[in-house]
Symmetry: C2
Subunit: 216 residues, 2 copies
């Protein structure tokens, strides 16, 4: 199974590549292929230094879509529309949205688009055959990158295609100590996406760093 | 410090009385005072059987407001407006809303009122001097009542009055193994109230019971 990370040289995408490439065959996409290649070289060296093998290739965002079975859209909310407008070929893919529509005022505020959530906007922008899931919404970039630490978090996953959702959940469960939970259909995406401004506020007001969530 | 529970004979209210009355001076309110007294007698006997002392009195909902420093509105969302329309005397109180506006369709859906959240509706209904906080939103009735188990959960607390919020957080931290987190101003209430349909869906789709949350 090949996983493509669109926006794979951003903070979240780079952290995901570090965690996923020892387990899966990863293609890291970027608007500039050179940047993706450089990021992959650095990650490969870092993992090698830790004695970990990885499968990791830097490509363009379009190649990350074309080569992958599962595509992760690791882009900030404000880049979703411009990024997707430049890409095609999603038809037979499983797509994962970890995107959270929010703004920082004095604190973090959930500001969904008229569709109700980033995922529901993405669904509208992609061909209707695409099997879209939300996952990884609440895991901070710094935690992805702190590869000496286990990621002991819960990951709510939602989506309308049960087979795709279970593939995504199985994938989540193979990463560090993450535990996937079926959160229901794609329509519950606002409940998942609004967790992130909540945990960012919890971090801000309680002087914590990179707060995550566990269900129990 | 005296704590009044409005709706204290409902599932959540009764569970709260079991956990809070060994620690605080509790007045349990009900629309029918007889019902509140009977519930308190049962709770007192149950705690006595476990070797626990408690301070617990069954009263009317209005008395639960009048006698308390902190009033917990332990009523379902649909009863908020009718209940508050019968009560007065909140002016100098700290009020806690654990109320979650949601509906059960095939799964649970967050259905806030036009104000954006139950807490923001409650704020509009109460005198403006009232110091209102959200707390206890995600703790299931069955967990409150399972007093042989520790409540090892995180409790996000929001509110606009810092002193009131810190009093509520200190109170939360004295109950079982609950840990209070400052989640910000009252305007973040939708982020807290929407946790409950999320955890109910997690329970439903993963065959779990009474799922709670920890921040870490």
């Amino acid at each position: 199974m090949k996983i493509g990370i669109v926006g794979g040289t951003g903070d979240i995408g780079e952290g995901m590549a570090m965690r996923l490439s020892p387990v899966f065959d990863i293609v890291v996409g970027s608007r500039e292929q050179d940047k993706a290649e450089a990021s992959c070289t650095a990650t490969r060296e870092m993992l090698k230094h830790r004695g970990q093998e990885c499968t990791l290739h830097g490509v363009s965002n379009q190649d990350a879509v074309d080569k992958a079975d599962i595509v992760i859209l690791a882009v900030p909310f404000k880049h979703v529309v411009p990024t997707l407008s430049t890409l095609h070929g999603f038809e037979d893919k499983i797509v994962i949205s970890p995107v959270n529509p929010m703004e920082k005022h004095d604190h973090f505020v959930f500001v969904p688009p008229p569709e109700g959530s980033a995922a529901l906007l993405i669904k509208k922008l992609l061909p209707k055959e695409v099997r879209l899931c939300c996952a990884f919404n609440t895991i901070a970039a710094n935690r992805w990158k702190a590869i000496e630490e286990e990621l002991a978090y819960s990951v709510p996953v939602c989506g309308d295609d049960e087979d795709a959702k279970h593939q995504v959940m199985a994938m989540v469960n193979r990463i560090s100590d993450l535990q996937a939970f079926n959160a229901g259909p794609l329509s519950v995406a606002p409940l998942i996406e609004s967790l992130t401004p909540l945990v960012l506020n919890i971090a801000r007001y309680n002087r914590m760093h990179d707060v995550g969530i566990q269900f129990r």
